[in-house]
């Protein structure tokens, strides 16, 4: 049996430091649901999801109860719908989104991801239709999440897609204008999207994945912060060591939950994503960890370096704790979902440009950032292109989840509620980039040698 102090440490992590398992996400392949009839295809999709995920929530809750550790979300990811719906004659895929929504509601999960298209090098027929369907799909469903992979280190950046997605984000913001453009919070544009990510909004079940898997995403910024609080005079090497040890423990808890749920559902365990995922609650913030290292506010000079060290130490500690690590596996910096980030933006310490710099050293990207509702689509496309380039050149995943909040501007707050939180609207650069964005075509893949 673990020692007395170890037991108490675990209990304290759960009770006081908000240690939890952020998500168990069941990945389901829909490749066998392809049908030339959209209606038949959707029936197959509904039947398959509700059959395979029937006990996901029940087993998740049972394990929460037995281990005494909260599992905040139970979710589903599916094969990108553009691949499934492409063989039907349908000219709009909103009905597919509604089917996913109904299946999610039937099994009791709070999000289902995979209303997605992969277009780093070009559009297939289904990709274009899916992308055009995104605004209405997100406005007419509750639980569906959507993503588009725009770029990769191997293929370069599809600048036609970058341009179109800028417009799609604006349309989504308009269609969900009654709720602070919340539709945009359910959409991510990626560079180097990962196929086994358990976190929303960007989760989908990649085509290289098996029939069905159980992925798990851990959390625990509060635990890391508390561990650093106890080491006020630690050097960087000592801080890295503390973070590694803490990440190891958090990851082991996640691995246990993931493998146990997978066993009980009789599906293979997929991966553990060892990202530090914050929530808007006090004591669950990544920004506060960076501040604990000695920064007055997240966003000041030194923040990128602090984040780089945190991200790397979390990976080093977590990798050994699980047999299968995947997904993003780094620190998340979503503004609206992190109490410390919100505070840093409000007091002017954290700017959009600093956030962009931070995304070059951690996962995921410009995440849950609210910008003025009158931001032109071309400016959004410019932001997408910048982030895609950071991902492409650095061989890492970057994502953009931007919310141009309709009718609001800098100085106001967007309120999304729940885990999505609330965000101060951040200023973006006012200079025009439309000529650049309108050029279209493919930005070539980068050279993979001569790295400087």
């Amino acid at each position: 049996m673990a020692m007395f102090k170890d037991v108490l440490e675990t209990v304290r992590m759960i009770e006081k430091e908000r240690l939890d398992i952020r998500t168990i996400t069941m990945g389901i392949s829909l490749l066998d649901c392809i049908d030339s009839s959209g209606k038949k295809s959707r029936q197959k999709i509904y039947d398959k999801i509700t059959r395979l995920a029937e006990n996901l929530v029940k087993e998740g809750e049972r394990i929460e109860n037995e281990l005494g550790i909260p599992i905040v979300n139970k979710r589903i990811s599916v094969t990108p719908i553009a691949l499934i719906a492409g063989s039907s004659a349908d000219l709009n895929y909103v009905e597919y989104a509604k089917t996913l929504d109904a299946a999610a509601a039937a099994v009791g999960v709070n999000f289902i991801g995979g209303f997605s298209a992969l277009v780093p090098k070009g559009f297939a027929k289904g990709d274009r239709i899916l992308i055009d369907s995104i605004p209405e799909a997100l406005a007419t469903t509750n639980n569906v999440c959507s993503s588009v992979n725009l770029a990769s280190s191997k293929a370069g950046i599809n600048m036609d897609a970058v341009k179109r997605i800028g417009e799609i984000i604006k349309e989504t913001a308009y269609l969900t204008r009654d709720a602070d453009s919340i539709g945009c919070a359910k959409f991510v544009a990626f560079s180097n999207a990962v196929e086994d990510n358990p976190f929303m909004a960007g989760a989908f079940h990649g085509v290289g994945e098996g029939e069905s898997v159980l992925n798990v995403g851990v959390s625990g910024p509060g635990v890391v912060k508390r561990a650093l609080e106890k080491a006020q005079d630690a050097s960087f090497g000592e801080m890295a060591e503390i973070i590694k040890k803490t990440a190891f423990k958090i990851t082991r808890a996640g691995h246990l939950v993931g493998t146990t749920v997978a066993k009980r559902l009789n599906v293979p365990f997929g991966i553990l994503d060892l990202s530090l995922a914050p929530t808007p609650e006090i004591g669950d913030s990544v920004a506060r960890i960076l501040e604990e290292m000695g920064l007055e506010h997240c966003g000041t000079h030194g923040t990128t370096a602090a984040l780089a060290m945190l991200n790397d130490a979390v990976k080093k500690g977590g990798i050994m704790a699980s047999t299968s690590v995947g997904g993003f596996s780094g620190a998340f910096i979503p503004v609206s979902e992190d109490e410390g980030m919100i505070e840093a933006v409000k007091c002017g310490a954290l700017t959009f440009d600093k956030l962009e710099a931070m995304t070059s050293v951690c996962s995921v990207g410009i995440d849950m950032v609210a910008i003025p509702g009158d931001t032109p689509a071309s400016t959004i496309s410019g932001i997408l292109a910048d982030e895609a380039a950071i991902g492409m050149i650095n061989n890492k995943t970057t994502g953009v989840r931007l919310i141009p909040v309709y009718g609001k501007t800098v100085g106001e707050m967007a309120e999304f509620g729940g885990l999505l939180g609330r965000a101060p609207i951040m200023a973006v650069n006012q200079n025009d980039c439309s000529v650049f964005v309108n050029r279209g075509g493919q930005m070539p893949a980068p050279i993979h040698s001569f790295k400087n």
Partner: protein
């Protein structure tokens, strides 16, 4: 299958009696107990064996939480696996 019971709160008489009574009533065997009292603050950890348990795990958990409320202590029961996973390599 084994579980860890943690009891934390202000020290008073009858804590061990109340907790072990619930365990005994449900045929849960206590294998190990450690406890300390620091500045009137009571902390106890029990390792228990659930093999012969006559009720469902969630019922046992509810009974322990209920008695915890009655005597003003926080009582948790968690599978041993979690602690072993987090604290052993």
């Amino acid at each position: 299958m084994r579980a860890v019971v943690t009891v934390i709160g202000k020290d008073r008489t009858g804590i061990i009696y109340n907790v072990s009574k619930i365990l005994a009533e449900n045929d849960v065997n206590i294998e190990d107990i450690s406890q300390t009292v620091m500045h009137d603050f009571f902390t106890m950890i029990m390792l228990v064996d659930l093999k012969q348990m006559t009720v469902d795990f969630s019922e046992l958990k509810a009974s322990l939480e209920a008695i915890g409320e009655t005597i003003g202590m926080s009582i948790r029961i968690q599978h041993e696996d979690l602690f072993n996973a987090m604290h052993t390599i």
